[in-house]
């Protein structure tokens, strides 16, 4: 078990290092940091002096080490555009993105899993066909288009939900939440559904295909031969076995949800990290770009690790292998 955890942790570290390397390369070699920081009228001598002061003439390895050191202390210097510390900028917008991601994931799970189970158990029924059609549309619609269509329907035509912003937020320590106010709750509906729709589709299809696969197994056949009720078979045995791989995949999806939040935040002008990252990319704001990358990589890697460990906890077969018994 320990060996397993250590192995996975090392893999995670490797990924982080590679990402750090990429971020560092961006930072140091894409565009000239000096030019970004000073005005046009700074003399060449002054620039050279600045270069020396910032240690930009040191060996690359040293600079890389310094970069990692700063990163671990959450010091990413100043954003080129906003002239504010990057960490403050991202930290300010972090809660918005996380809340959006979680609410959308919750929506996708609560609606997607039942839909998937239904379409697996009632193949050929008209409702299943409806669900499957919706899922096909869900996969085919780009996230931004879903957002636009929802805005058009609910904000422009019907006028019942807001089309941008987060509504009123409540400050809890360093966190800001929009879930405790009425306007906040109304504001999160459309973005969460937009972000959640493609997840829902994936979850539904996954649950369906896994369940169909499970229903074909010998142990289900044997369970039937023992006279167990349909309910016990479908929900006790089949569903339990279905959810095991589903949970892992859903966990892994959480990472990409944070990435797709970029699009959703753009469409709804949601004040999150994603929107910040996009603006940074558009304006070649390297510090913000690099910092976002590292942060997001860290989140992804952490999620992957947690999901792997969770899988070991859930599936008894793997537990034994991990223990090396």
């Amino acid at each position: 078990m320990l060996a397993f955890v250590v192995r996975r942790a090392l893999q995670a570290l490797l990924v982080m290092l590679v990402v750090a390397l990429i971020a560092f390369t961006l930072f140091r070699f894409v565009g000239d940091p000096i030019n970004q920081m000073v005005g046009l009228d700074t003399s060449i001598a002054e620039r050279a002096q600045l270069r020396e002061m910032l240690g930009l003439n040191d060996p690359v390895v040293v600079q890389f080490a310094r970069f990692i050191w700063h990163a671990l202390h959450l010091d990413f210097a100043i954003s080129y555009q906003f002239k504010q510390p990057v960490v403050a900028l991202i930290g300010e917008r972090f809660p918005a993105t996380i809340e959006l991601a979680f609410v959308s994931a919750l929506f996708a799970l609560l609606v997607g899993i039942p839909m998937g189970v239904y379409t697996a158990l009632h193949r050929g029924s008209w409702l299943s066909t409806v669900f499957l059609t919706v899922s096909l549309v869900g996969i085919s619609l780009p996230v931004f288009l879903t957002g636009i269509l929802l805005i058009f329907l609910f904000a422009v035509t019907l006028g019942v939900l807001p089309s941008f912003g987060r509504g009123e937020v409540v400050h809890l320590g360093f966190w800001t939440t929009g879930l405790l106010t009425a306007s906040g709750l109304r504001a999160i509906v459309l973005p969460a559904v937009t972000l959640g729709l493609f997840q829902l589709t994936l979850i539904m299809r996954l649950v369906r295909s896994e369940m169909l696969e499970v229903l074909r197994t010998d142990y289900i056949k044997f369970a039937r031969a023992r006279g167990l009720s349909e309910r016990a078979i479908n929900f006790g045995h089949a569903l339990r076995n279905t959810l095991v791989p589903v949970i892992t995949i859903v966990g892994l999806q959480l990472g990409s949800v944070i990435a797709f939040a970029i699009i959703t935040e753009t469409v709804f002008q949601w004040p999150g990290m994603g929107l910040l990252f996009l603006i940074a990319v558009q304006n070649a704001d390297i510090p913000v770009t690099a910092a976002y990358l590292l942060l997001v990589a860290a989140i992804f890697v952490a999620i992957n690790l947690i999901v792997d460990l969770l899988y070991v906890a859930i599936d008894p077969r793997i537990r034994v292998e991990a223990r090396g018994v």
């Binding site: 197994t217 369970a223 006790g236």
Partner: protein, 330 residues
């Protein structure tokens, strides 16, 4: 005469495909007496498993029972609504499959699976069900059942798993057990143990067994009567000793001849030329006639029905009174 426990008449199992309907079990009829062991033997694809699956009502789409009647103690069970059939499964008819590893749900402890089955068919509480589960485990020969009842299936060896499977099948004390190749997936050394266990359990509980296998040795060891199947039909059915000693149908003769007998000095094992026909190309008349060394005129024309001959029933033109006359006339 004792009334039959299970009575199968003219059973047909078919599969509609876009190339036409394939008949996998064709007009099969037999009885199973209470407490007897009926072996069903034949090559892969002869329709043995499907016959068993049809009896317990688990034929999967697109397959279906096309014709025939199945009666359990006189009552028809092949046309029951799903809920009534479910109550018969496990409680009155049990089934055991070939691979014990895939027969058990890997994420549940075997104790939970046993208790669940017991609670489904008996009106008791958890504690009583667990006691019964322990008793079952002891009966099937699992050592130290208190320790092992909370293990997962993958923590057992193949032979032990099959014992657990038997325990599960017997949990509700059914009158009939259909064992579909119960030892094929096991090591040879374990096979004998499991067969002996099956024999003992059924004797102790008075359970009848339909033992489906391609292994004649197992049949010789365990069965009272045996039905030989070929291409979805029964070609011979009779008392085991008689069928083995004096097989009637040319296919059965070929089967017996192909079994190596350690105490008999045979220069060559019999080989039946050719292979069993595919479902899409079953010959007209007697299905075996293209491979039969004794085929003659009526064999290709008309399908022979099971007729009694001595202590067995055999479906072969060689044993029909009209046949000898036709043979003479050519």
């Amino acid at each position: 005469m004792t009334k039959a426990l299970l009575s199968v008449r003219n059973l047909r199992v078919e599969f509609p495909t876009r190339r036409g309907t394939l008949v996998a079990v064709d007009d099969v009829s037999f009885d199973v007496m209470p407490g007897e062991v009926l072996g069903v033997v034949g090559e892969s694809g002869a329709g043995k498993s499907l016959t068993g699956t049809a009896i317990i009502g688990l034929i999967e789409r697109p397959g279906r029972i096309g014709a025939g009647e199945i009666r359990l103690k006189g009552e028809r069970i092949d046309d029951l609504p799903p809920e009534r059939m479910r109550r018969i499964r496990g409680r009155r008819i049990g089934m055991v499959f070939q691979d014990p590893l895939t027969s058990l749900n890997p994420v549940y402890r075997i104790g939970d699976q046993l208790v669940e089955t017991i609670l489904t068919h008996t009106d008791t509480n958890n504690a009583a069900a667990r006691r019964r589960a322990l008793a079952l485990l002891t009966e099937v020969g699992i050592p130290a059942p208190e320790a092992r009842i909370d293990n997962y299936p993958h923590q057992f060896s193949g032979g032990m798993r099959q014992r657990v499977v038997l325990a599960l099948a017997l949990a509700a004390n059914p009158e009939l057990i259909i064992a579909d190749e119960p030892t094929t997936a096991l090591d040879v050394s374990v096979q004998a143990q499991i067969i002996a266990l099956l024999k003992r359990l059924c004797r102790d509980h008075g359970t009848a067994v339909i033992l489906i296998t391609h292994d004649m040795g197992v049949i010789a060891e365990t069965a009272d009567r045996v039905a030989v199947m070929y291409a979805g039909r029964i070609v011979e059915i009779g008392v085991v000793r008689e069928v083995i000693k004096s097989p009637l149908h040319p296919y059965t003769i070929g089967l017996m001849g192909s079994i190596p007998k350690p105490d008999v000095d045979t220069p060559r094992l019999t080989q039946i030329p050719g292979t069993m026909p595919r479902l899409t190309a079953i010959p007209a008349g007697c299905a075996f006639h293209p491979r039969c060394p004794r085929a003659f005129a009526p064999c290709a024309a008309e399908r022979p029905n099971l007729t009694p001959h001595g202590s067995a029933d055999v479906a072969c033109w060689l044993f029909r009174p009209a046949a000898s006359a036709a043979q003479v006339r050519g």
